[in-house]
Symmetry: C2
Subunit: 293 residues, 2 copies
């Protein structure tokens, strides 16, 4: 399948000093404690230019999503899975709304993972994840994911250490098999600073239209910040694989996080080199049949 000429010229995302997947990929030995959550790696412009670039990406994202969908409807097996992880207020919802919202909702399979339901809890922790994977042609979006099974589960000791210890390798194998079967996984850790989180939580308490987003439990979770950072560090150390690498996205500036994720999603779609499925029928014959009706 040929790649459309239309997009060739757009391959380099103008404005970046370094190609975004490179600027954002968590390197081996990534040190979470030293990471500046207010920074904008690879990007030296401001908010205005970032927002323009996201808006500019809308057309190409939509086009590539439709090609992926068309391929899925024509017997293809590929899909894309965006995994969003982050502490409360890191901006996962805003990413879905403002970045994923740029493409046709018909081609998106969105799933948020909360406390397991009683049915989910009766199964292996990957059971609900497997059931939520994007079908061929879809862009799946996980708002939280199987990583909670080595994050909140580890911090709150919901299963014994010897249980969660096994999960890192298990997750790596699971993701590797997923990639082999045609799913491109884009893993994003949205990293917000504790100061910014406090500001965002306080804002929810100041605005009656935000009360519903506030949960007193968020303060309890916040009090376990160091334990969560340790758990995130372990995730980044132990599940940052070739098949499914982690991206570390500073999340203190929402506009940067949105730009970053739009670039990562776009990059994953561009790599698929998506064409349009050829006709599996005789075009001229069909034209004749149709004209006769």
């Amino acid at each position: 399948m040929g790649h459309s000429k239309k997009h060739r010229g757009m391959k380099s995302s103008t404005g970046w000093d370094v190609p975004p997947p490179e600027a954002l990929r968590a390197p081996a030995g990534f040190d979470l404690a030293a990471f500046d959550r207010h920074s904008t790696p690879g990007w030296s412009h401001g908010r205005g230019k970032a927002e323009k670039l996201v808006a500019h990406h809308a057309g190409e994202l939509s086009d590539l999503q439709e090609r992926l969908f068309a391929e899925g409807r024509s017997g293809g097996s590929r899909s894309v899975l965006l995994v969003l992880q982050g502490m409360d207020t890191a901006g996962k919802g805003g990413i879905v709304r403002h970045v994923v919202g740029l493409v046709d909702p018909q081609g998106v399979a969105h799933r948020s993972f909360g406390v397991p339901t009683p049915e989910e809890a009766r199964h292996h922790y990957l059971w609900r994840v497997r059931r939520s994977l994007p079908r061929p042609g879809y862009i799946g979006v996980f708002d939280r994911s199987h990583y909670e099974d080595v994050l909140v589960v580890r911090v709150d000791e919901l299963v014994p250490k010897k249980e969660w210890e096994k999960r890192y390798d298990e997750i790596n194998r699971f993701e590797e098999r997923l990639v082999e079967s045609g799913t491109s996984i884009v893993k994003v850790a949205l990293l917000v600073s504790p100061e910014e989180q406090k500001k965002r939580l306080l804002e929810r308490l100041d605005r009656p239209d935000k009360y519903w987003k506030y949960n007193p439990g968020d303060v309890d979770t916040r009090e376990k910040w160091p334990a969560y950072q340790e758990a995130y560090q372990a995730v980044l150390d132990r599940t940052n694989t070739e098949a499914a690498p982690w991206h570390a996205v500073p999340a203190d500036r929402k506009w940067f996080a949105r730009l970053a994720v739009s670039e990562l999603l776009l990059d994953a779609l561009r790599r698929l080199d998506l064409g349009w499925p050829p006709a599996d029928f005789d075009v001229d014959a069909e034209r004749e049949r149709l004209r006769a009706t």
Copy 2:
């Protein structure tokens, strides 16, 4: 819950000669054969103004969708279900992309109904519909629906007449109960003319980026046009209830159909008079707890 002042002034949708829900509602005794599928009932302006109005609605649609979602997360039981029915090329997909796509994908539950899977076929025809209903707080979108069980099923005699004959009343009762339990149902028949359908199908054959949307079976279905119109007439006669009325939307002009559905969705959301859920915690106490972290 109070209705936000912000939207009071927007309640009348400027530009319409008649309020759209009134202009579009299928009246008792609706005559499908006499319906002009190229018309724009209630709207005497052109495409430009229609597209501007749809874009203008985006903000209010988003805001109301978020209120509905917030309510659902706070113990509310209400939801909205948009049912889209129409012949091939009527523009159901375009409505989802361009109208439903205006709101946060996190709050949308989209489902398209095709030929039942073997598992679905083993159950009552409403089984897969019940499983796909929007949860509280969501906007559900059905691209085709349980109405196929009295449309294609009737036309192709997939079950005996005495079976499908019972379904109209059964569907009415089903929808009535749904409405009682808090789901606002917006039923839309997208009515495209046979000439326009031919044009749109031929276009799919002229454009390699549209081949994937073409299915030789569409011509077979097209050859059964009169039987389908009869089946649609029966649907409009027998399931046009107080609880869940039908809207007849001329679909030959895509821009009009999109405007029409955006208005109907907006109207359904406005009728819910959605506020913001009050805090179920002590705001000042939480602020203190948070400040101490």
